[in-house]
Symmetry: C2
Subunit: 326 residues, 2 copies
Amino acid sequence: MRALVIHEGGRLVVEDRPVPEPAADQVLVRVTGAGINRADLLQRAGYYPAPPGAPPDIPGLEFAGVVEAVGSAVTHPCPGDRVMGIVAGGGQAEYVATAASHCARVPETLDIVEAGGVPEAFITAHDAMVVQGGLMTGQTVLVHAVASGVGTATLQLAQCLGATVVGTSRSKDKLERCVEMGLDHPVLAPSGFDPAALAGEITAAGGPVDVTVDLLGGPYLGVDVAAAGHKGRIVMVGLIAGARAELDMGMLLHKRLVVRGTVLRARPSDEKADATHLFEGQVVPLLARGTIRPVIDAVVPLAEAERAYDQVATDRTFGKVVLDLR
Amino acid sequence: MRALVIHEGGRLVVEDRPVPEPAADQVLVRVTGAGINRADLLQRAGYYPAPPGAPPDIPGLEFAGVVEAVGSAVTHPCPGDRVMGIVAGGGQAEYVATAASHCARVPETLDIVEAGGVPEAFITAHDAMVVQGGLMTGQTVLVHAVASGVGTATLQLAQCLGATVVGTSRSKDKLERCVEMGLDHPVLAPSGFDPAALAGEITAAGGPVDVTVDLLGGPYLGVDVAAAGHKGRIVMVGLIAGARAELDMGMLLHKRLVVRGTVLRARPSDEKADATHLFEGQVVPLLARGTIRPVIDAVVPLAEAERAYDQVATDRTFGKVVLDLR
């Protein structure tokens, strides 16, 4: 099979690799689409090695495709079924072998290539905002980098749940596109912002925040804590802007806040199955109905993967970039 | 009635004040004992004003005593019942009027004066470690300032729940007394400690920590994060050592930690009723059986309150100092 392989120095090369063998509880999927994530860029740069059990040099944390074969213990899904899911690595190849319990069905309404950009963003958004953040109807959600894949997924899910959304971005154009998608309160985050001032803009626009989905970290932690309302939940999902920041514990106690760190990739298999199950039950029906939709910036052939990676790195994309593996 | 009153400059004076009138849902309690807490010291120093509705100048966040009269809507407790509870202020007086739902019964086995040092420590410990920290049997608990009122309450409750306890203190003598009480792993916290080194000692002694009850804040946050195990919960209850510290969000994400800030005093009435109800159901039976006991350093007559406050401020007490209001 063709697979994208990370070479020394971060060069990306399409190589021929053996098709993986599915274990008893696994399915073999003929991959049609696989989204590119920031974590792939980190792995390419040598900072985020694949966990044990995942292919060490084939990137890709998500896939969509068609089941080609199933292990002896698998009753569901069946060969021919359209599925999508998250993997700890190896998604950017023509075939992946993955646990049957980590596969969700791809509804008719979704393109089978674009669906490869769905699982990571929507599972992360749902898990962070609903499962860990405990969002309730009528509450206020804050999303930084609202125009990203996870950002646009969080925005759409929050709207479905009857929440008010405040979204930040460093780009005015991106914010305008998010407003067209229904973003209630766009807030521009200029570079070198003052956390307290940005928090003031956020609460002036949308009131005290109940749930924050933070993909950036660094100085945004200070924004999150200052903008949070009583018993607010701050879920840290990414650290693109920095891994360390001062925490104002006075506010933490006074407002009775919760700050939670989360990752998907390193979770044990049973927890990934749980997250996939919740995604299939609570998010896939909304995708099937067209109430929410993946925001795809570009679909790029596997042969042009290097260009696609560079595109994601520019920070100029709106939503996801997906590799076409057909 | 006699009441302790904070005067200008923090002078404590016993004065005559009118006995409060219980509202329809309140009881009037003839107070026999009232513990002194760090928050009283802060209030005395002008840093922690009483919330609206509480007497502004009479300190005291907990009491024990005998119900003298009840409001028209109260069915329980009854006049003559021995009760204890937390209040937002005014506990250090001969009478308090408080919500009936904020009263728990004082079991026969407890001295009615010493019982005045029970509610704040044990409700805080139970709420932080069990309700918010989600402690399970067999897990490891870390308690800083283990020889304090909340510390010794946390230690004893953790033991009852089948947890392993690592306790820190800056005093070797206090740690020895805690070991006599059953502390599994004493760890000395020298002044000016290195957070990573202290965390290393903690995990070498007791393994990765599941639940941390942190009464100190400041540099202890770094200790908590470094010593935490996978999915550890850190509950910040006090900030004696500082209100700001750097948070290592890399570890937060990697270990999927939760950092939670909490206070009791400022909670709305229904949440105090909930906490009191859980305390009465889950902690009071253990006190009644003698499985756990309040650790009382001294019982001091109201007339000597100033000396008692100074005693708490020295940091040389072991457990609680309680004012005798009989």
